[in-house]
């Protein structure tokens, strides 16, 4: 007995459908209340579960956001401390360098001033003393000649002597003026020295003032961070994002450089470790080349760390200066050796390439390469060797963007996590609401299917109510009880 046999209550299909519809409608009508309750309970469970999940996700998001805030503030505080520390170091160096010379500078200035004062003293304009006998001569000269030729002669002599004395006095006066001018001229370099010294002092002071302004700015930022203000968090978030993208870009460039480096040394490595042996599915020669590059990057990291340019390894930063300097030299020496090895490998690569080209040409019957081309082979060889030597040193600087990338990655991952959690919570809430309204829709659809029994029920209820109302009107209002009246 198949489904169709069960379905076909009567031979006519339409009649069977109608009968089944009526039966189902009646059954569903009687099951209406529990069915409605089930649907409502089910969607309420779903809605509540999703809301609960959304609220737990939101609380997780809050926690993550708080953690991000802490991470950002801690990173910002560290960076600000570092900047302030650096500024203070610069100011200290400046003060140490310039202000240490101030006693000497002061002595120099006072010596110059003393010299200037002495010279100034020397240059004072002293008028020549008038000859003491001039009044006596004047009196004698006033004696009347009275026609005595002798007296006239004497007076003439006196006059001549006076003129001579005058001329001599003028000459001496000129000489002394010349000397004073010479002294004043000698003062000039001293003035210039003093001026230079004072200018340099002024420059140093200005520089210190500028540094102090920068320190003041950093201190303001630092205070904001210490206050844990929203402004500081916003600034630090924006800064972390921009640092992340910039450092990622620089790292991509560095990876490009490392790839070029890899290409330079992977081929000749086959001569050393063989070209066919494999480690984890990759050629040993390629892994060896990669190891060399990674060792170079690691040495670069250690070098930068020892120079205190980066702070990825606190152990290295905490080493005493003597050990640190030793480490600088050791890492630099290893880098130098590796760079030389790479230059050698680059040279080897060119030789291998030429050999392979020559063999291929021989086998293809093309003969040896043209002489003109061979003359310029040294250029590519030298370029490859140069790149092989320089790239390891260039890779040293990967440490700086790497540090920035690592630090900003925490913040960026945190922010992305917050975004994802927020989106998830929103999606769950939306889904919860969808379920809630779907429940209402299902109830309505249920009622739509059993519209006929519902209509009959409504009609019956409506008829009895009408009758009830009519009866009520005829009988008048029911008498109220005493309690109802008093109320």
């Amino acid at each position: 007995m198949g489904f169709s046999d069960m379905f076909m209550v009567v031979p006519n299909a339409a009649a069977s459908v109608a009968i089944w519809f009526v039966v189902l409608a009646v059954v569903l009508y009687f099951a209406r209340q529990p069915a409605h309750q089930s649907i409502r309970s089910f969607v309420r469970i779903l809605h509540n579960a999703l809301r609960l999940a959304a609220s737990s996700i939101m609380s997780a998001e809050q926690m993550l956001q708080a953690r991000n805030r802490e991470v950002l503030l801690a990173a910002g505080r560290e960076a600000a401390e570092r900047m302030i520390e650096r500024e203070f170091e610069r100011v200290e160096a400046m003060v140490h360098k310039d202000l240490a010379e101030y006693p000497a500078l002061q002595r120099q200035v006072s010596e110059e001033i003393t010299r200037i004062a002495e010279d100034y003293e020397k240059s004072t304009n002293v008028p020549p003393d008038p000859p003491g006998w001039s009044k006596a001569v004047e009196a004698v000269a006033g004696i009347p000649v009275k026609g005595d030729p002798m007296v006239g002669q004497i007076l003439q002599d006196i006059h001549t002597s006076l003129v001579k004395a005058q001329a001599k006095a003028i000459e001496e006066y000129r000489k002394s003026s010349l000397m004073r001018h010479a002294v004043l001229k000698r003062i000039m370099p001293y003035w210039q020295n003093v001026q230079q010294v004072l200018t340099s002092v002024d420059k140093n002071i200005t520089s210190v003032v500028e540094r102090s302004k920068a320190i003041g700015r950093y201190m303001d930022e630092y205070e904001e961070i210490l206050k844990k203000s929203d402004k500081a968090v916003r600034v630090l978030s924006a800064s972390a994002l921009s640092q992340f993208f910039v450092s990622a870009l620089v790292l991509c460039v560095a990876i490009g450089g490392a790839m070029i480096n890899f290409t330079l040394i992977a081929r000749p490595m086959a001569e050393m470790v063989g070209g066919q042996s494999l480690i984890m599915g990759y050629r040993t020669s390629e892994i060896a080349a990669l190891v060399i590059i990674l060792v170079e990057v690691s040495m670069g990291l250690f070098l930068m760390e020892s120079l205190r340019i980066t702070r990825l390894f606190p152990v290295i930063g905490a080493l005493n200066d003597k050990l640190r300097v030793r480490m600088i030299w050791i890492t630099f020496s290893i880098l130098l050796i590796l760079a030389s090895v790479e230059a050698g490998l680059a040279f080897m690569r060119e030789i291998l390439l030429q050999d392979e080209l020559a063999t291929s040409a021989l086998l293809r019957g093309e003969g040896m390469p043209a002489h003109d081309t061979a003359n310029f082979v040294w250029i590519t060889t030298a370029a490859q060797m140069g790149m092989g030597f320089i790239l390891p040193f260039a890779l040293v600087f990967v440490a700086i963007p790497l540090e920035t990338f690592v630090h900003s990655l925490r913040a960026v991952l945190g922010m992305s996590g917050v975004g994802v959690l927020r989106g998830l919570a929103m999606a769950l809430r939306f889904l919860g609401n969808v379920f809630r309204y779907t429940g209402g829709l299902l109830v309505n659809l249920y009622d739509l299917f059993i519209f006929a029994p519902l209509w009959i029920e409504g009609a019956l209820k409506g008829g009895s109510r009408e009758r009830h109302d009519r009866d009520g009107e005829a009988e008048g209002p029911e008498p109220m009880t005493i309690r109802e009246v008093s109320a």
Binding site: I255, F262, G275, R283, V297, L312, D355, L362, G365
Partner: protein, 216 residues
């Protein structure tokens, strides 16, 4: 610091994925040269073919050239054989020596009365199985017309699982011109034999496009 190590390992993986290439499987190539009858005239082409194959082979690959003569199932019929060294410089030297050996053979070769292709294929299978290469190619440089002396049994099934068999420069004989069905039947018979043995069969007659030989 852990994050730093993680980043460095990520960079290493990226570099290997970006620059490193998955090492190719090593190849074993056995070339059978027909030295019977008038086909010796084609040996110049065979030399050219050998040079092309040498260019295409890498360190770690194996290559052997065997002759097809009256009885080819013999080590004595291997004209030259080599397994290339891991070091590229050594490989280049080996290629030059191989070329010289083949040149010397071609200059001194004498025409054989019979053509034992099956024996040559059996020898090739034995050699390549012994080498254990990942990919195996048997190249038959012949007109595929087998002529055996009395008493030689060659009706043996060939075990060619994982083999790529390529017939090269299958020239048409005078009788083929009279009745081309002979030529087609010959090719079909060899194809059936190879495919029944589990091998892959190809025919390349265009000697200007020898680069395709080891491509498949």
């Amino acid at each position: 610091m852990n994050r730093c190590a993680w980043l460095v390992s990520m960079m290493a993986a990226l570099l290997l994925q970006g620059c490193g290439e998955q090492a190719p499987q090593n190849r074993g190539v056995y070339l059978l040269m027909d030295t019977s009858g008038t086909y010796t005239k084609e040996l110049k082409n065979a030399q050219q073919l050998i040079n092309v194959i040498l260019v295409k082979l890498d360190p770690g690959d194996s290559f052997a050239v065997g002759r097809i003569d009256t009885g080819s199932f013999s080590e004595k019929d291997i004209v030259a054989k080599v397994t290339f060294d891991d070091r590229p410089s050594q490989t280049n030297q080996q290629k030059r020596h191989f070329r010289d050996s083949v040149d010397t053979f071609v200059k001194s070769v004498k025409s054989a009365k019979f053509t034992d292709i099956s024996g040559g294929v059996l020898q090739a299978i034995e050699y390549l199985n012994e080498k254990g290469n990942d990919r195996k190619h048997i190249l038959i440089f012949s007109d595929l017309k087998e002529e055996l002396p009395n008493g030689y049994v060659r009706d043996i099934p060939l075990q060619l699982e994982g083999y790529d068999v390529v017939a090269l420069n299958v020239t048409k004989l005078r009788s083929d011109n009279v009745d081309p069905r002979e030529y087609l039947d010959r090719l079909e018979a060899w194809q059936r034999r190879v495919e029944e043995g589990g091998g892959k069969w190809r025919v390349i007659n265009d000697m200007d496009r020898l680069e395709r030989i080891l491509g498949g």
